[in-house]
Each structure stands twice: as structure tokens, then as C-alpha cells.
């Protein structure tokens, strides 16, 4: 009886692990999300040089590879500005609000991606 239960539990547990991890990998491919939504202004490599940045673009999109600038932001700051747009952080409205477009999980994954691009941890908090 006990034996059976252990096997069953192990089975259920490994099943949960397998679906959990493969599900996540399928759900969010963060580089693809970044390239599709963010690169048009921030550039494919995040340097703030996307195709929308013409000479008359009013304000430079943040260069995500600039660790000094990116370290001024907490992860919560990034989440705010990505969800609710520039004005939510007293920044330019040229930074769009994505709350109705991206899921919270996608935004969380993007924060991780920006931290890879800046190779920085950001302000505590």
C-alpha cells in the first residue's frame, strides 16, 4: 500500500515538474518578445537605436546596456514604466503603456532580460 502510494506520488511529482518546466519555456521566449515589442524603439540589442529613433524623435529611448543608468531603477520601477508607460514615472509618453498588451509574466521576463542586457542588478527595493 505504502509502496504504491510512494510510486504514485513520485509519478505525480515528476509529471508536475515536466509540464511545469516545458510549459514555461514555451510560454515566454523573452528575446522574441523583446524583439517584437521593444526593439522598434530600443533597438534589437537594447542600445536605444531602434528604427523609430529618427532625428526628430523627441527623447532617446533608454539604452539598456548602460549599467549606470539602469542601476538607478529598481525592478519595480521597470515594471511600472513598462506596464503604465513613461508618464507613470514622470518620463516621456513616447514610452508606451503595455499593460493591455503584455501579460504580467511577460513583463517579469522582460525585466530579467533588461538585467542581462545591462549586466546589472539595479537599485534595491
Amino acid at each position: 500500500m505504502m509502496m504504491k502510494f510512494t510510486i504514485l506520488a513520485a509519478f505525480v511529482f515528476s509529471f508536475a515538474l515536466a509540464t511545469g518546466s516545458s510549459g514555461q519555456a514555451q510560454e515566454i521566449e523573452v528575446e522574441k518578445v523583446f524583439k517584437f515589442y521593444c526593439a522598434q524603439c530600443h533597438g534589437v540589442s537594447g542600445k536605444g537605436d531602434g528604427p523609430n529613433v529618427t532625428e526628430d524623435f523627441p527623447v532617446s529611448p533608454r539604452n539598456f546596456t548602460n549599467a549606470a543608468e539602469m542601476n538607478k531603477l529598481t525592478n519595480a520601477d521597470i515594471k511600472n514604466v513598462v506596464m503604465d508607460g513613461g508618464p507613470s514615472m514622470s518620463k516621456s509618453p513616447m514610452m508606451p503603456p503595455w499593460s493591455k498588451t503584455l501579460s504580467e509574466a511577460e513583463v517579469d521576463a522582460l525585466i530579467g532580460h533588461l538585467r542581462v542586457l545591462c549586466n546589472c542588478k539595479g537599485k534595491e527595493g
Binding site: K32, F36, Y37, Q40, C41, P51, M94, P96, K100
Partner: protein
Amino acid sequence: MKLTSALLLALALTLWSLPGHADTAAGEAAFTANDCTACHYTDGPAKEKTIDDQLAKKGPELWYAGSKFQREWLEAWLQDPAPIRQMKFNSVTEFNAGDHPKLAAGDAANMADYLMSLTSDAVEAGVVKPKKNAKGRLIFTKKMPCSGCHQYEGRKKKLVGGRSGPSLVGAGMRLNPDWIYAYLLKPEIFKPVKAMPVFIGLLSEKDMKNVASYVANFK
């Protein structure tokens, strides 16, 4: 007697509808014969569910072309297809090479008839009037990032604005004003996956109408 007049009426109706119908059919045949189907799908509803689905497309979907475009513009553009998107379709690094297939005048007329017959009932007619809408202008140029991704004619006819979205220069000639509003209001119907943010809940329906009215006024 009753039967004869019914027959006559039926005959008259058939004759009246034939020419239009013939052009639509000829246009549909030409659409396939010219391989337009290689890059455009014409059967709705929208098929895209993921970013990959969107990126796999070689050209914009045309299943609601009759609700989106103005016929006169469409017929002219098919003969002289100047770039609408500044970037290559689905690219953020390469520019539009301006190499869209060109049609002769007769084919373009039939094709325009056919494409104008592809409509969506999600577009309500007569809602948006093109205007120099001051509120719409404020939204487009200041409050929202529309101008960051779309080219338009600024002061002194200077072309300004971003490049990732279709150029909206001449949108007043190209697009149906009511479709612009429907596009903002019901993105899940027309563009379930797109690089433009969803503005539902961020812009009121009234402001969506204002900005649609402003864009529909672009010469």
C-alpha cells in the same frame, strides 16, 4: 400574370447585378492567378495566435480589405504600389525595398472590386467623421506614443514620426475612418498579435473616436 412579372423582376435583378459580380469573380481569379495568395490571406477571421504566426506572414492579411480601404486609393495603389510601411514587412532592421508586384489598370479595377467585397461586420458605418480634431491631435502627438511609431505630416508639410508602423501620411485617402476606430476598439478581431500597444481602457471610446477622426483627416 403574377408569375411573368416575378420572372421579369428576377431577370432585371440578375442583369443589374451581373457586371459587378463578374468583376468580383474576375478579380478573385486574378488574385489567385497572380499569386497574391502567396503573401496575403483573404479568409477571416484572423488566424494569428502567437508572435511566430505573425512573423510567418509575408504580407498583411486582406480578409477585411473592403472595410479598411477606400476603393479609389486601392485601385490606384495596385498599379503604383509606393511603400506604405517604411520598414520591410515584419522587420525592425531592414527597410522596405518598394518591390511590391504591380498590376495593369484592368486587372487592378477587377482586383479592387474583389478586395472591396471582403468586409467585416465588426466595423460600424457612419461613426467617425474626418476632422482637424484638436483632442485627437493632442492624443496623437503628445499624450500617447502614436507619433513614435507612425509617420505623418507635421508643420510646414514636413514628414515626421516613427517608422515601425505603417505610414499614416495620406491616411485620409487610404483608410476608412470607421475602420480606424474599429481597429483601436477591437484589436482582437483585426490584429490579435501586433507590435502596436492595445489602447483599450487607456483611451476612452470617445478619445478613440477623436484620434481616429484626426488620423482620417491626414492628407
